[in-house]
């Protein structure tokens, strides 16, 4: 970690890059944004924005459960609850006739209200307000190690399951006819999303995590005609907004997560306007 820090200090002779918390945040951005850019492409293709929103909300209940259990770090209970919720949603989705939107809406409502009820006992909800906005600058070296593990795991998984996921998203029956276990891959993706969203939520913020997942791929699809380009542009836009947002939030004194999302929104509108030049 020290080597990385001195390397960053050497390579980036700027004022902001001299502080340890900014160096940590920079490493975190470089680890988190590419995964968001990659997974986001599938979230947008499968119209799962609402779903990732529900996962984000479930973090509140996860924290609440952690508090009840007396855990010092609620991360474990958050991830566990989100994974459980992800599996529950995909189970109910496949065995009920209600629309996916309704199913997710029901679970999301339970998760968010249960979380608020638990956390607001005794009027202490303000203590958890940081989860709503997120605080990237508070990230510790230990958490960066955790992020690196998640980073590597997601990329390896993405190599193996991506093709199957695309086929399932195009048509589940078609995927089935080609030997893809549709339920398995759907659940696997849901679980990966649950882990990623809950782990990142304390840095990005519950209110805007979905935007970071959805905006860059939405921008990328405006100007790409195949999957490779789509992924590449989406990752580039997420990283670019992450880095720009981090630096700007330092100078402006604003919340990092929201600043990053604003930059990606700007990039989205730029791609939207330049769409005609890229088609044909």
């Amino acid at each position: 970690m020290d080597i990385l820090h001195s390397l960053i200090g050497r390579l980036l002779p700027f004022e902001w890059a001299q502080y340890a918390f900014m160096k940590n945040a920079l490493i975190a951005v470089l680890l988190v944004t590419p995964i968001f850019g990659m997974l986001g492409t599938m979230v947008v293709n499968n119209r799962m924005a609402f779903y990732s929103e529900a996962l984000g909300h479930s973090a509140l209940t996860g924290i609440g459960i952690g508090v009840i259990l007396g855990l010092s770090n609620p991360l474990i209970s958050m991830v566990a609850f989100a994974v459980l919720l992800a599996i529950a949603i995909s189970f109910v989705k496949s065995s009920s006739t209600a629309s996916t939107d309704t199913t997710i809406g029901v679970f999301s409502a339970i998760a968010v209200s249960l979380g608020i009820v638990i956390l607001s006992r005794g009027g202490n909800f303000n203590r958890y307000a940081s989860f709503l906005i997120g605080d990237l600058l508070s990230i510790t070296p230990d958490e960066i190690v955790l992020l690196s593990i998640v980073f590597i795991a997601v990329i390896i998984l993405w190599v193996f399951i991506f093709n199957k996921l695309v086929l399932v998203s195009v048509n589940p029956s078609l995927a089935h006819s080609r030997g893809v276990n549709v339920r398995l891959y759907e659940t696997l993706f849901a679980v990966i999303m649950a882990v990623l969203v809950t782990i990142s939520i304390q840095w990005v913020g519950l209110l805007i995590i979905t935007s970071l997942l959805v905006l860059p791929p939405a921008a990328a699809r405006n100007i790409s005609g195949n999957i490779r380009r789509y992924t590449f542009i989406s990752v580039t836009i997420t990283m670019l907004s992450g880095l720009t947002g981090l630096v700007l939030s330092y100078y402006w004194g604003t919340a990092t997560g929201a600043t990053i999302v604003l930059i990606s929104a700007l990039l989205y509108f730029i791609t939207l306007v330049s769409k005609p030049w890229f088609n044909e």
Partner: protein, 271 residues
């Protein structure tokens, strides 16, 4: 059907040719019996059209054959050498795709994710490109290889999906006819291709159709399904089946033949 290999007498116990057999297939979901005692034998090189009213279980039958929902009874495939029955390799052309039409998935991408394990987001298809072009050429769609799926017309998409279903060449091809979005010309091109391919690859084909008038000239056999097989035989025979006309009303049957019959009616051929 005249067995084309009638000189080889090794497998009289089956159908003489390779064939796909669906025996006593039944599907019950929850407490509702959707299909019962469905028996269908399809010879290779034969196009069987499956029709029936809404809710007759047509799509359930397709899903059961695909193995997507549990069923009783059995499904087996016997090849021309009469070797042991196995579960057939199935090619499937869905009715429609459920993807977001703005998704940047090209035709080549669709083949890449279906045919290889190499992650399409990372690796350039390279050598696969030739194979895909060959596949697409079969259905007169080679020029579409780099187009986005969402930019294809209904007929073009249908041909691309057909090309995909033919690699690897299946034992049984299931086609779910699109309800809308394809013009008459596109449909005719599609069915001409299917008809050609049936002989070229000696395929068993089941086509779920909603418009018998359109497909009757290509069909070797029509199966009328309503929870079970009600009629199975030549397309023309369906109309002559009196018991069928009684249960369903002749108006409904005539509706099936649509345009063909309205021509006859005008000439006073019917009624």
């Amino acid at each position: 059907m005249i067995p084309r290999h009638s000189l080889t007498q090794r497998h009289e116990q089956s159908c003489g040719l390779c064939c796909t057999k669906i025996n006593n297939l039944g599907v019950t979901l929850g407490k509702t019996e959707i299909l019962r005692d469905v028996n269908i034998h399809i010879h290779c090189g034969e196009l069987t059209v499956l029709i029936g009213p809404n809710g007759a279980g047509k799509s359930t039958l397709l899903k059961a054959v695909l193995g997507e929902i549990p069923h009783t009874g059995e499904l087996s495939f016997v090849d021309a050498r009469g070797s042991d029955a196995k579960r057939p390799l199935i090619g499937y052309v869905p009715q429609r795709l459920e993807f977001d039409s703005g998704s940047p998935i090209s035709v080549l991408d669709l083949f890449t994710v279906s045919l290889t394990g190499k992650p399409a987001w990372l690796i350039k298809p390279g050598s696969l490109q030739r194979r895909v072009t060959e596949n697409l050429t079969r259905v007169q769609a080679a020029h579409l290889i780099n187009r986005r799926l969402g930019d294809l017309s209904g007929g073009e998409l249908q041909r691309v999906l057909l090309a995909l279903a033919l690699d690897p060449v299946p034992d049984l091809l299931l086609l779910d006819e699109p309800v809308s979005g394809i013009d008459r010309q596109g449909m005719e091109l599609f069915y001409n291709l299917v008809s050609e391919i049936r002989h070229q690859f000696d395929l068993s084909i089941i086509l779920v159709s909603h418009d018998l008038a359109l497909v009757s000239e290509y069909a070797d056999r029509v199966i009328f399904l309503n929870k079970t097989v009600i009629y199975s035989g030549k397309p023309a025979g369906l109309l002559l089946d009196n018991s069928l006309a009684q249960t369903l009303g002749s108006a409904w049957l005539k509706g099936l033949y649509g345009s063909q019959l309205s021509g006859m009616e005008n000439r006073g051929g019917l009624e």
